[in-house]
Amino acid sequence: MIDRNIAIKAEDVSMMFNLSREREERLKEYVINLVKGKLFFDEFWALQDISFEVRKGDSLGLIGVNGSGKTTLLKLVAGIMKPTKGKIYTDGSIAPLFAMGSGFDASLSARENIFLVGALRGYTKEYMRKRFDEIIDFAELEDFVDVPLKNYSSGMSSRLAFAIATLVHTDILIADEVLSVGDAKFHKKSEARMAKMREGGTTILFVSHSAGAVQKVCRNAIWLDHGKIVMAGPSAKVCNAYAEFCKT
């Protein structure tokens, strides 16, 4: 049994993508490849033997260059993908906050999206109604409540995504490069909001390729490179090492 104080635990997690799969969407090609016995070629291991745990209320940063497997690991923790090998345990409700917008429907308005995303995370309409004004207020979208999201600027929709993810109660917040969106003012506001969530006991898993951002938000950090852990420990130490590495 797993410790009740643990929010996220990864055990020897590996993730393999089959790059050749991309090309097998046609039935004909599939059959031809099947006959040739070529189906399982071109393996790509995005993550290899990753183990870590995050205690409840703690914050962990994932740092690394593009393509190091950070986002893949986040998606595994969020349950969007299943690992090829190994196991991931999570305890509590998860709010994912990815750069590409967390489950928005562009043809719907902010109002409708708030309820839809709320429902997606398992919250009732009544609960979301109570949070509604606060979300709109935080995202600074008072004048655009009934405008379809397709007419929003990218800053506006990421502000909305951030507001929904952080103003609805959640046990684990999974955030991917969020602080890079929005202007300086919103940036400050969102950092303050994340600090407040941390004080409130929310576990945070945070990804960035900026050492500075990780150091600000997280107590501990993991440095990933080519799908492997290079270094893990207190975020100041890991971030410094990473910053050194980036300079060279």
Binding site: R26, Y30, I80, L116
Partner: protein, 257 residues
């Protein structure tokens, strides 16, 4: 949290998705939801004009005979066809958040079912108009609808799975459903099929559901026990098959969306 509670969490989402899709379907059309009643009525009129002279001697009250088959069949084929795209069409969600994926298939089937319920209004209207007899056997209707729903959901789970992997299926399926429609005795009396080929017809699940529908609404009799048993078997088997195919593959979907 138990497994059931966890699934109940997503009920709100299911409701929202169904509402959204139904709204979108009739978005900006002047008659809106009325189309679900009008559509079967109008196509029934066309078909009746074309076929009623052809089968006059074999079938009396052709409009009802036709509607019974058409409503059940278009729910089965329409929903499973919509399900083909259930995963790809919701790629945005699947890529960005965890959600039990069968929800997307279930929502498509429920949308088709809502359409079916609305088109039953068309059937009742035609029954009234043609002075068909309303009997207590109509009480069997919910049982039949439940069985058809189970079967269609199972079929839809299969179609959603393979529709995600093989996009050619979207084109092929149209042809398949056309063939399926012609072997389901919707427009013609079952009796015109030579008895030596009947067994082929009996293999078609749709025939049994349509047969029960006709017993209830058209002949006004109790469906035979045999037909109910066969229909239930098909429903349970298809549902089990759908669940097992879907479960075995759902973790691979994100690679294809």
């Amino acid at each position: 949290m138990t497994k059931i509670e966890e699934q109940m969490k997503y009920l709100t989402f299911l409701k929202e998705v169904v509402k959204r899709d139904i709204k979108r379907k009739y978005y900006k059309s002047a008659l809106g939801v009325l189309w679900t009643v009008l559509n079967p009525l109008l196509s029934m009129l066309v078909m009746t004009l074309v076929f009623s002279t052809l089968f006059k001697r074999n079938i009396d009250n052709y409009p009802i005979y036709l509607l019974c088959g058409q409503l059940i069949f278009s729910f089965m084929s329409g929903s499973s066809r919509q399900a083909l795209n259930a995963i790809l069409g919701n790629a945005g969600y699947i890529r960005s958040i965890y959600i039990p994926k069968y929800i997307f298939v279930l929502s498509r089937v429920i949308e088709g079912f809502v359409d079916l319920l609305f088109s039953l209004i068309a059937l009742v209207l035609v029954m009234l108009f043609t002075h068909a007899k309303f009997t207590l056997n109509l009480l069997m209707l919910p049982t039949l609808l439940a069985l058809v729903f189970m079967f269609t959901f199972g079929l839809s789970l299969v179609m959603a799975t393979y529709g995600t992997f093989f996009r050619d299926l979207h084109h092929l399926y149209g042809i398949f459903t056309t063939l399926w429609m012609w072997i389901s005795a919707i427009f013609y009396p079952v009796s015109i099929i030579p008895s030596s080929y009947r067994f082929l017809l009996d293999l078609n699940p749709a025939i049994h559901y349509i047969g029960i529908m006709r017993a209830i609404c058209y002949e006004g009799v109790m469906p035979t026990e045999k037909s109910l048993v066969i229909a239930s078997c098909y429903a349970v088997l298809m549902l089990l098959m759908g669940i097992s195919v879907f479960k075995a593959n759902e973790n691979k979907f994100f690679l294809y969306v």
